[in-house]
């Protein structure tokens, strides 16, 4: 039962990285100096999906708290600066996207667009560092608490933060080639291909940094699986690049979405059976079972939420279906 909840946690966080990922990618691409109508069109391509994307994070955090309370407390408090930065980023993007078109002046809108860029940057880097923190282990003491936060500042964490940032930008650009009107989408294709190349380099660099890090090697229970999944991630990015070259943006987006979801699987599989590995006290490491809530809580959550899962995913799918197709002149413009 713990495994099922762990998988569900992974599903929702991976869903957030995929869906929130293109929000932030589109947000970051506002920085490339396009004119005001293009910036607005990019945000409205995300349009109807934006609110539904952000809440995958909320749901993941809810599962983390309800089903893995101990992991929740130690992971968040133990990665404080990274989580706080990511959170600030999430808030800036949420407010920025929804409010940027409410003022009339072009200057105010441009200022809000900069808020969105900064927010997207913080969110991508912050969650990247949190993921790296999981993979390199934390100084979890015998009393169950994480000591300090300086353990986050490692070359591997920096490399992972940058890799997630590169992934998110490339994913966002791929999303826009799929979702904007054909002419505009085609114009973005060369940029998206360049960004995918950058992402491949960044993911490669993070993988090498991980292989060189003693802490990562010590924490990894199944290093081979980790390397395999990293290779798979790079393959997905290569596939996306090739698909863009053949004018198959839908396929390319599927590939970058896979690439955004893979880090979660990579961490879960590489650390299994642990959820949080201690770098200072091996016996303090939390297995998934240790971290999970007790049986009655998991059963209750199962009874109350699992029957509703099809509805949750169904309404999200309904949103995708209603607003499918490229954002053309007939689509409402609100953001």
């Amino acid at each position: 039962m713990e495994l099922a909840w762990y998988a569900l946690l992974g599903l929702f966080f991976a869903g957030y990285l995929v869906l929130g990922g293109y929000d932030y990618g589109v947000g970051l691409l506002l920085a490339r100096g396009a004119d005001a109508p293009r910036r607005r069109a990019a945000l409205n391509a995300v349009g109807p999906f934006f609110l539904g994307n952000e809440v995958w994070l909320v749901a993941a955090a809810g599962i983390l708290f309800g089903a893995f309370p101990v992991l929740e407390g130690e992971l968040l408090a133990g990665s404080y600066p990274a989580v706080a930065a990511a959170l600030a980023g999430v808030i800036l993007v949420t407010a920025g996207v929804q409010l940027r078109s409410r003022p009339d002046s072009a200057r105010a809108r441009a200022a809000w667009d900069r808020v969105i860029v900064v927010g997207s940057l913080l969110a991508a880097l912050g969650w990247g560092v949190v993921l790296a923190g999981l993979l390199q282990g934390v100084p979890l003491r015998a009393d169950g608490h994480v000591a300090g936060v300086t353990h986050l500042f490692t070359p591997f964490a920096a490399a992972t933060g940058l890799a997630v940032l590169a992934l998110v930008v490339a994913h966002g650009a791929t999303f826009l080639t799929l979702q904007l009107p054909t002419v505009e989408g085609d114009r973005l294709r060369p940029l998206a291909r360049r960004l995918l190349l950058t992402a491949i380099v960044a993911v490669g660099a993070a993988t090498v940094a991980g292989l060189l890090s003693d802490r990562v090697r010590a924490a990894a229970q199944r290093p081979a699986v980790g390397v395999l999944l990293a290779v798979l991630l790079v393959t997905a990015l290569l596939a996306a690049r090739a698909a863009l070259g053949r004018r198959r943006p839908g396929l390319a987006f599927a590939a970058t979405a896979t690439a955004l979801a893979l880090p979660v699987l990579l961490i879960g599989a590489t650390l299994w059976p642990y959820a949080l590995v201690s770098t200072v006290e091996p016996s303090a490491s939390l297995t998934v079972t240790d971290a999970a809530a007790s049986g009655p809580t998991l059963r209750l959550l199962g009874w109350l939420t699992v029957p509703l899962l099809p509805a949750l995913l169904g309404f999200q799918a309904m949103c995708l279906w209603i607003f499918r197709g490229r954002a053309d002149g007939r689509a409402p413009v609100y953001w």
């Binding site: 749901a59 809810g62 708290f65 600030a88 999430v90 800036l92 409010l99 608490h145 409402p332």
Partner: protein
């Protein structure tokens, strides 16, 4: 500097800002449901315009509700890791349910509602708003279940120092829950109704265009606020019995039950100050005064007859001046409830100093200052935008604007693309 004090301050600030926005969300969405239903049923264009105008304000207000809500959710893990460790098995369950079955769906529906104008059939579009409203109420319910458990922990047993869930039904029949839920929900209706009445009063007083439109919303807002204040008072006073029963120290420690309880705590947790600061009850007194003052809203209701409320002018001013009152009362009420359980996170079970995360005071201070500035700035900006959109009137809100029409609020026309 003291990590615990900083963490408490941060919780108080975030929760206060959060409540200012979610109360308006909950109140307005209820009225919007009525307006859009009237539009779909009657087909009257006026209801569509009302839905768009008030919907626009609702959607702007919603932004800060989410932003502060996300911080609230993560704050438990960031600042209060002891809470997850010792009582997460019980307290985490209602919060997890809230995020999955309420918050998640609410946002999904709202995104479709905003972008669904002119794209969905009217019935489907209305159904989305019903979805938003139902999940908003579900959200309030589960949050109150979680909060009530902190006020009065029930349905658990402690094994190896950790609380385990034994009886979930006890969480739903918690004496600290139902009256408080009624109180909070009617306070939200009061806030939403008074906001609607006050903004309408502003337009009627300035004789802006659309007098007929704002006359309607003035009537809806005022009647809602008047009905709601009576419910607020009723649920409020009805709470004193159950709350005094389960939290004898909340309103001061001079009752015999409070003395027995404090003696018990002293034997189990060691000597200490087990009374909440006097401050929380001072605020409670002010809140009750505001509650009585707002009860006078009923005096304005008869003036709706033959529009005397508009013709006399001064009642319009009264409504505008009364607008801050429910917001002040909301904050004071929450301070009384939350500070009143001090020094406990979970009353009689988990003291605050065991719940706070063991992190450096400097980090906590940086987080407090950073998030307060961030949320404070966003809140003020949001209110300025709300005020501007409220003042702009119902001529052409961006929400629900037909796609073919070039947006009037754009400096230059935006053809299909580029």
């Amino acid at each position: 500097m003291d990590t615990l004090l900083l963490a408490r301050l941060q919780f108080a600030t975030t929760a206060s800002v959060h409540f200012l926005f979610v109360a308006v969300t909950l109140g307005l969405v209820t009225l919007l449901v009525g307006m859009q239903t009237a539009w779909v049923v009657t087909g009257n264009h006026r209801w569509e315009r009302l839905t768009r105008f008030w919907g626009q304000l609702y959607v702007i207000n919603y932004v800060l509700g989410i932003a502060t809500g996300v911080v609230m959710e993560f704050q438990f893990g960031l600042n209060w890791s002891g809470l997850s460790r010792y009582v997460g098995n019980v307290f985490g369950a209602p919060l997890a349910i809230e995020t999955l079955v309420a918050f998640f769906l609410e946002s999904t529906f709202l995104g479709m509602w905003i972008f669904g104008w002119h794209r969905l059939r009217r019935g489907a579009h209305l159904a989305l708003l019903y979805g938003v409203a139902i999940t908003a109420y579900a959200s309030a319910f589960w949050i109150m279940v979680a909060n009530s458990w902190l006020q009065n922990p029930v349905g658990y047993e402690v094994r190896d120092g950790v609380a385990h869930l034994t009886d979930f039904a006890a969480l739903l029949t918690n004496p600290a829950l139902w009256m408080a839920l009624g109180h909070v929900v009617s306070a939200a209706l009061l806030t939403g109704g008074l906001l609607m009445a006050a903004i309408s009063a502003w337009h009627l007083n300035r004789r802006t265009p659309d007098l007929a439109l704002f006359r309607s919303s003035l009537r809806i807002g005022l009647v809602t606020a008047a009905l709601a204040i009576t419910l607020v008072q009723g649920f409020g006073f009805a709470q004193f019995g159950p709350v005094g029963g389960v939290q004898p120290t909340k309103f001061g420690g001079d009752s015999p039950q409070a003395e027995v309880l404090i003696a018990d705590w002293t034997s189990r947790f060691g000597p200490g100050d087990y009374l909440p600061p006097a401050l929380s009850n001072v605020g409670l007194g002010f809140m009750i005064l505001i509650g009585f003052a707002l009860g006078l809203l009923w005096l304005l209701v008869p003036l709706l007859w033959r529009d005397w409320i508009i013709r006399l002018r001064f009642p319009l001013w009264l409504l505008m001046l009364a607008l801050p009152l429910p917001f002040v009362a909301l904050i004071l009420g929450w301070i009384a409830r939350e500070v009143g359980r001090h020094p406990w996170v979970a009353y009689g079970l988990l003291p605050v100093d065991q719940a706070v995360s063991p992190i450096s005071p400097w980090l906590m201070a940086a987080s407090l200052v950073g998030f307060t500035l961030l949320l404070g700035t966003l809140a003020v900006t949001n209110w300025m935008l709300l005020a501007r959109y409220a003042a702009r009137g119902a001529a052409d809100p961006a929400l629900g604007r037909p796609p073919a029409q070039p947006p009037a609020d754009d400096p230059r026309p935006e053809p299909a693309f580029a």
